[in-house]
Amino acid sequence: MNEKIPSSALTPDNAFTAECFKLIAEVLPRDKYVKVKGLGTFKLIMVEPRESVDVNTGERILIRGHQKVTFTPDTSMRDIINEPFSCFETTPIYGSTSADATPLAPEAAWENGLMPDTLLDDDQATPDTIADITEATRPGDTAVPHPTSQPPVSDPSATAASFHRFFGWSFWGVLMLVIMACGICYMFNVIWPDTTGTRYTQLDESLESESDTIATTPDAITLLHRATPIAPPQPLTRDQLASLCPDDPRVTEADTTRLRIVGTIDTHTLIYGETLAALSLRYYGRRCYWPYIVAHNNLPQAHHTFVGTAIRLPQLALRDNQPQ
């Protein structure tokens, strides 16, 4: 690990190895590229002349254009090298808001700490590559300030853009959702009013105070009748439940509509070979009530229950609109 292996130690044929790399070095200035199958491609690329600053004197200097040797590994070599990490794949990140997901301007990206793709690359990047990357991301700028040393000043146009973005789709979307939620709550309240009796108790008290006038009209009689508190649901016994479902082994339809769950009668731990239908048969006298057991226990997969699962057995009662 981390040892420097000379090329002469790679194969017994040292002369051939040396000749191989010597040929590449000789051919490169002439042909500009040498491709070796299985290893990669050596290329000679031109670096344009550019201005820079002498770090000692602070003077502006011109770096002359020159040629640079680059190497691109072959796909097979790349796969061999990256084999330890080959199990990883690029995965999308979900859960961010739409404002985060929108591509930001470079300045805004600096401010949010979300650097452009290539700048988050690694901490082993050489200064040359960083310079190249920054040039690539901000082509118009000649001198690029470092994000930590000199934070960029947000200009009014950028602020206006971010304000517009905030009051754009996301704001109106959230507003619409709130209005829809309020509407749904109101609809639920109208369709299924409170059946616990508190509302009717209040109505009862108000009606008692005005009983003289109201009792004279037929509408009020129905109102008073309705105002009596609703009796709590009567849980059905095993015999009653058995009588509700036909005792025919050919009938396999499960009951999911006539009854409702009003409590828990017992808890049972599943053993090997037991099914929910068998539990239904044991506790309710019929097999058809297993969907209520599923609903009461929030079982995600009713057909895949595990040994040792504690099953709560629901207490069942008739729904209000069902005949006794």
Binding site: V69, I81, P92
Partner: protein, 90 residues
Amino acid sequence: MNNKEFIAALAERTGCTSREANSRVRTLVKAMAGQLTQGNQVVVPSFGTFEVKKKNERISVHPVTGQRMLVPPKLVLNFRPATTLKEQNK
């Protein structure tokens, strides 16, 4: 110079057949890959150094859709040319 021309030139220099040269190059590349996967550097005098570098995982943003992606870490082969080679191609 493509691979075929490179093998032909190498065969001419070393005085062996193209097939032999090809097989020797393959052996050399395999030996290099073996050393590099073990984390070693391969130093070729007056040519350069081959080494493996680890690139950390990073978050990348799709420029069009704005979708954020987690790019996994990876190992890449890097080549640093020797000063002699740099001077030769200046």
